[in-house]
């Protein structure tokens, strides 16, 4: 019999390896802050242009989440919206398959 779950197994292995690499780098690498690469990129822009980071002002005024908590709340909301779409459609498909 053919093994049906090779993709599932591969995905689990990939996630475990990925987490393992993360644990390894976070414990051995000096100065690994795990800041967003967006921010690291902005730092490099400041370095290359010779303009201090704080001199970069938004061209169009922008609302910023007042704290990291609120930011993560809004990110979770975004993921939840996506999850609802995905789950809703898969459920709809499974339901209509059973009916047919």
């Amino acid at each position: 019999m053919k093994f049906r779950y090779s993709l599932e197994a591969l995905a689990i292995i990939a996630i475990i390896v990925f987490s393992g690499i993360f644990l390894y780098t976070s414990s051995t690498m000096d100065g690994a802050e795990f800041a967003g690469s967006d921010n690291v990129g902005s730092g490099l822009i400041a370095e290359l242009s010779g303009i201090p980071l704080e001199n970069f002002q938004p061209l169009i005024p922008q609302w910023e989440p007042p704290s990291g908590e609120i930011e993560s709340c809004l990110f979770a909301l975004q993921a939840a919206a996506g999850g609802a779409m995905v789950g809703g459609v898969f459920g709809f498909w499974m339901g209509s398959q059973k009916k047919a």
Binding site: L7, M29, F34, S37, G41, I45, P58, F75
Partner: protein
């Protein structure tokens, strides 16, 4: 991949907006056409778009000691071609610039070009090349997804290097520097994203093969063969 608000000079903001807008218009036009032709494309759009919402909100740690997020554009690119994908990305990126201070309205054009246009266009090219060959369907999905993700970050590096050429070495040397930050961080994420979305594609094949056949995403033989393998 977000360029932060204020970090791109005005003239470059305008250039990227001018590139992005026609693609979004084309996406809107194609979306209307696809939905008018087949209402059952809507749930597929929900699933493929949903993964863009989910994956682009996950900021994952990587080998370089910084965090970055996958883009999730692969499935949508395969199902609906790049321009509809650009439209979905534009919605996500607009949400992130308005509420999360990730990117911003002036740099939105540049961010749409990297995540919604350049990545998906490259992915779609890979898909078109592999679709009618004997290459395994899931391997195709993996490659499209991983390369669309990678190329999004290559484009961000390109956009920044064009705007900020280094004093010595100019464009090339700052491109290499930005690639070191964005693209290097992205390699492991792109691989994991590719595998996960290939797995999701398997479930779409099992649950709703007829829509994939009707939209001519893969040949009927390939889908039926994959379906037999899974059941």
């Amino acid at each position: 991949m977000h360029i932060m608000e204020g970090f791109l000079p005005l003239q470059w903001c305008i250039v990227w907006w001018i590139i992005a807008l026609p693609c979004l218009a084309l996406g809107l036009y194609q979306l209307k056409k696809v939905l008018a032709a087949d209402r059952e494309a809507l749930p597929l759009l929900g699933v493929t778009g949903g993964f863009i919402f989910i994956l682009s909100s996950l900021k994952l740690p990587s080998v370089t000691g910084s965090c970055s997020h996958p883009t999730g554009t692969g499935l949508s690119t395969i199902s609906f071609a790049p321009w509809i994908t650009s439209l979905v990305c534009a919605i996500v990126l607009l949400f992130q610039s308005l509420f999360l201070a990730h990117g911003g309205l002036s740099v939105l054009g540049a961010n749409i070009v990297s995540m919604g246009i350049a990545g998906p266009v490259v992915g779609y090219g890979v898909y078109r090349v592999l679709r009618d060959t004997s290459v395994n369907m899931y391997l195709t999905v993996f490659l499209v997804t991983a390369l669309a993700d990678m190329f999004t970050y290559v484009t961000t590096s390109l956009e920044l290097a064009l705007a900020y050429p280094a004093e010595t070495g100019g464009f090339v040397s700052s491109f290499v520097l930005f690639m070191g930050i964005f693209a290097l961080t992205q390699i492991p994420l792109a691989i994991v994203e590719g595998i996960v979305l290939a797995l999701v594609f398997k479930y779409i094949v099992v649950l709703k093969p007829d829509i994939l056949i009707r939209l001519k995403i893969f040949s009927e033989e390939k889908i039926n063969a994959a379906r037999d393998d899974a059941s």
